[in-house]
Amino acid sequence: MKKLLGYIKQSVVDKNSALVLLLGLCPLLMMSSSLLTGLVSGAAAMIVLVLSGVVISLLGRVIPNGIKDVSYMVITAFFVAICELLLFAFLPSLRTALGIYLPLITVSGLAFAAAERADNATVGAAALGGLSLGLGYFAVIFIMSFIRELFGNGTLFGFRIIPEEYAIRLITTPFGALFLFGIFVAVFRAVALRAEKGEVEK
């Protein structure tokens, strides 16, 4: 149990894939404009990273060195395509919102980092490595999309919470995404710094 908590803390806080390692910012920022797209894409990224990590670690010894990075990206692309087809079959309304951004998970640094971790690792370690990156991504996109939909649109999952006149439209634009993410990184760093100081004083 303690080990599990430690693993979650490490992946969400200490080595957060978005806030600390700055991976996959393009899909993260664009798909966090509403809570539904954020949750769905976060879950999709998590599943893709785990599955592609497993396959890459299984195939790692078979694929020749020269074309390793190329084949890893294609493997990830296949899993993203599977996710895409399933998603649009069950939730066709998301097609316009996620359209070009879901495939971009393949070429973002996120998939690259997962492939690097899975290379020459055992299957379990590769799956955990992918999951850790995915968890960090999911946590950030969840909070971002919650704030952006609540204050930008005044709704949550499409239900109105704040009257329309009081919603700040700007937050749903790319400007809001960049601004909010900047503040996130700043707050995160400040808190991490304070925690570090506290530990030293103890």
């Binding site: 790319p174 960049l178 503040i183 710094l193």
Partner: protein, 195 residues
């Protein structure tokens, strides 16, 4: 009429729908490489070249392979396969034929391939179903837009170095907030249309 539509694609790709600020494509290398004008210039030029090829490639793949074969659902896989192996091939060829140039450029595979701008341009061009000339224009001007914004933002960040930023905002956070403000300025171009 044709010319006007090409013009509006060009103006859109550079200003109103700049791939960085309206789609946030290639934002990670943009933030990382804009620490100085030189790396920003290098990143911008590489991406601009890649974007021209990417846009033409997406038209070619769409008309020759994907649509005749009826495999629209595999579009992103095909694009990733061709684009990434194209980048790899180019890297190998440059390093074999012109070892000095490749040393000077120092462009790594991951810098180009792991750039969402490349695949993003392909998917955008294909989604809007551009004709040949339209995709050529889109690729060239989207690349130019990326280059211009990279250099512009790098010079803003050079000024930021000398400013007195609060400690917790130093480095990346203030860069992100500045980028947000530049994006806001760029959204002012949204009304430009030629048709």
């Amino acid at each position: 009429m044709r010319l006007l539509s090409l013009l509006s694609i060009a103006a859109g790709a550079v200003l109103a729908e700049n791939i960085i600020f309206s789609n946030l494509l290639g934002i990670t290398p943009f933030l990382k490489e804009s620490r100085g004008i030189r790396p920003a210039l290098r990143q911008g030029v590489t991406t601009a070249f890649a974007s021209v090829f990417a846009s033409l490639l997406s038209w070619l793949l769409d008309t020759l392979i994907i649509r005749p074969a009826g495999i629209e659902y595999l579009r992103s896989v095909v694009f990733v396969l061709v684009a990434v192996s194209g980048v790899k091939l180019a890297e190998v060829m440059i390093s074999k034929r012109f070892p000095k140039l490749s040393e000077k450029l120092d462009i790594s595979f991951s810098l180009v391939a792991a750039n969402t701008a490349l695949l993003g341009v392909m998917l955008l061009a294909s989604e809007r179903s551009y004709t040949f000339f339209e995709s050529l224009f889109f690729g060239v001007f989207a690349g130019l837009g990326y280059l211009a914004v990279c250099v512009l933002f790098a010079s803003v960040r050079e000024k930021l170095e000398y400013s007195d930023t609060p400690g917790f905002l130093e480095g990346l956070p203030i860069a992100l907030i500045t980028a947000a403000l530049v994006a806001l300025a760029f959204s002012g171009f949204a009304g430009i249309k030629f048709i």
